[in-house]
Symmetry: none
């Protein structure tokens, strides 16, 4: 079985200014094709150190991936270290230089002189295209090992890895096939999921079920290992069915699906339109809905009615309703939703009002109190939630919960 080793380069990582998320991303991707990462190294921007860990990584593994240090400034030394490791010199690549110049020209900019260094590649290595920035990557084969240097900027690194390195690695990968499927859940906690799944989560089980949580979204990783890909795929598929049966409507999707994507698909299929009225979430729900390409098929408009006057003038919420119950109340949530639905002539409207904090809470209405109201046809239903863990989490969780209510309604 082929093995991999990963090297992260950059003073900003060692000084703790940057959390290294590239590493876990690459580990996961390699794991998914049966190339386990057996070691990883982090070093600063020093040629000697980089060359030394390249030697160590090369002795650990068949595949060595480097990230960082390909920028245009003097502290970017991965290029030079790669050349020294190969025992060659850097060479100017005219095609790369042209591409970098084009990058700036297409933006009506002059290429700064410092960017020229990015057109240099070690002799004996090839460039990897960067379709998001100016720093090309480097790939080389030496003594049966595959080495690739990728940018440190996560978006550029991922795109380059997926376009140019991953296909190469898939060809290398032999033998044990690993298939990873993901189930996405929303609406309960991690320990409750673990209880519902019981012995299915045992550590020596194959497929292995791992669980991660981010902003209330629980991802179950089903990791099936078998002699061939088809068998592993079948095992993962069976588990996906089993777990979905056990968890029911807690499962909202698979793979990398977001709640907004799933909701968007349902709205588009049912040819329904949605309008949103937000107070405490301040545009977060509209943003999540419009993160999805093609959202204009079902989303036409939204209001951020942050103060009370806005709720009255924009959505027709009666001022005496706000006076009687307060802006954070089921009555006002309902009135916001109804107003939004009517003004937008939408099939469905959803409204959120709450107290995101850190101030503004009271004993009856604490920070984290949120009312979410959904209206469609002649129905209008509001629900009360108490979220915690600070302003950002409260706002994001409230918007996600609104999407989940919408999902279950659809």
């Amino acid at each position: 079985m082929k093995k991999a080793s990963i090297i992260s380069i950059g003073n900003e990582v060692l000084s703790g200014q940057t959390v290294d998320t590239n590493k876990s991303y690459l580990c996961r991707k390699l794991f998914s094709i049966g190339i386990p990462v057996v070691s990883s190294y982090t070093v600063g921007d020093q040629i000697d150190f980089i060359v030394r860990v390249m030697n160590l990584a090369g002795s650990d593994a068949d595949v060595v991936l480097l990230t960082g240090g390909l920028g245009p400034t003097d502290d970017d030394l991965t290029r030079q270290a790669f050349a020294r490791f190969l025992g060659t010199e850097l060479q100017l690549n005219d095609r790369l230089l042209q591409k970098i110049q084009d990058f700036f020209t297409s933006r009506d900019l002059q290429m700064p002189q410092s960017n020229k260094i990015q057109a240099y590649i070690p002799e004996g290595a090839g460039p990897l295209a960067n379709n998001l920035g100016t720093a090309p990557g480097i790939m080389a084969q030496m003594a049966g090992k595959l080495l690739a240097a990728l940018p440190g900027v996560p978006s550029e690194m991922k795109r380059m890895f997926e376009e140019s390195v991953f296909p190469e690695l898939k060809r290398l990968s032999t033998g044990q096939a690993v298939v990873v499927r993901k189930l996405k859940c929303f609406g309960t906690g991690e320990s409750n999921i673990a209880e519902l799944l019981g012995p299915n989560m045992q550590r020596d089980r194959n497929p292995l079920i791992n669980c991660t949580v981010e902003y209330g979204v629980i991802t179950l990783h089903i990791i099936a290992t078998a002699d061939d890909k088809d068998k592993a795929r079948r095992m993962a598929q069976q588990d996906e069915t089993l777990l979905t049966q056990i968890l029911g409507e807690l499962v909202y999707g698979t793979g990398e699906q977001t709640l907004a994507q799933v909701v968007g698909q349902k709205l588009a299929q049912q040819r329904k339109t949605i309008a949103v009225a937000e107070s405490c979430t301040g545009g977060t729900l509209a943003k999540l809905l419009t993160d999805v390409p093609g959202a204009s098929r079902y989303f036409t408009r939204g209001w951020v009615t942050y103060d009370n006057t806005a709720k009255t003038t924009e959505l027709g919420v009666p001022d005496d309703l706000i006076q009687a119950y307060g802006a954070v109340s089921p009555q006002v949530a309902d009135a916001m939703a109804k107003g939004a639905r009517e003004k937008a002539s939408a099939d469905i409207a959803i409204a959120i009002t709450g107290i995101a904090g850190p101030t503004g809470g009271s004993i009856e209405k604490p920070v984290g109190l949120v009312y979410i109201s959904l209206t469609s046809d002649n129905q209008c239903e509001s629900r009360r939630f108490i979220f915690s863990h600070g302003r950002d989490f409260i706002r994001f969780r409230a918007a996600q919960t609104a999407l989940n209510i919408l999902r279950l309604k659809l």
Copy 2:
């Protein structure tokens, strides 16, 4: 100057299931007392590998910190590796055993047999108290080096480090003080910043200037090293002034400040209110503004007018204007801004209309084309931008650019 090296241990880190946040935490803490981390290693739960990287780390540095692998299960092997590195055996420590038993007794639980292993410590090493869990740490001195093994659970690791290891390291630290200041910039690229700063970015300079980029925000890290804290602080302060002079209005803030925070402060100070009208950004700008606690002082309302009808009915954009110039035009951007300002009775309004993609572009109006219009008093000014790198980046960059225009206006 003393140096440090960090070792992370655990299969879950190498399989990418866990992002290693311990490392950046320890790096930051060590950095703050003038003990730079010069290398770091990540290995799986295998004794041989752990011992090997302990040797490497020991040759790199004076302080070696390990995290992970101290749990009670069979895959936790840091204890055994530590003993082998010291050339000694594990010994049962009766006081530790008692403490672990007490931990369970106090929770009305029976101690599982597997936890007994946590009472073993290598001969020649001492235990570090764990006040949050059962896994004690290990600390030893060998050949002038300080070695400490900490749990992998972040909360336990941090508490143990702060209580037992950090005070020890402060004594070791030979007085070299390091002060880090951050300058946040927006409105240009990394290479242009490097060109403007010129020799100030040289690698051997003190303070050292490092540069990182995220979503268009460039962070300059000013790292000053001196014999005492006051001197380092003065040096960093001087550089902050110098760099701000050179970069002028490209610098929008310091530390962890966001554009929305800086804009919010200015609005609050000048007692001005803002309204926003968004098309392609779909709520992103409103969300960024309301991410800031207390945004209600200056932000009262926003519109997400995603389709053309919404622009007309909500903001009074004349339908024939949209027919004549298209929704993505400076004319419509201006009309959106004016409509929003008037309806919200705000001092300032900002409008964004553009094509976020991936579809909907044409030769004259490509994906990424965005008009941003700002209106205040009787002025109204729109600017044209072409952003790239996909839907998410275009939307986020457009909203950030709107904030930057607002900042410069204020």
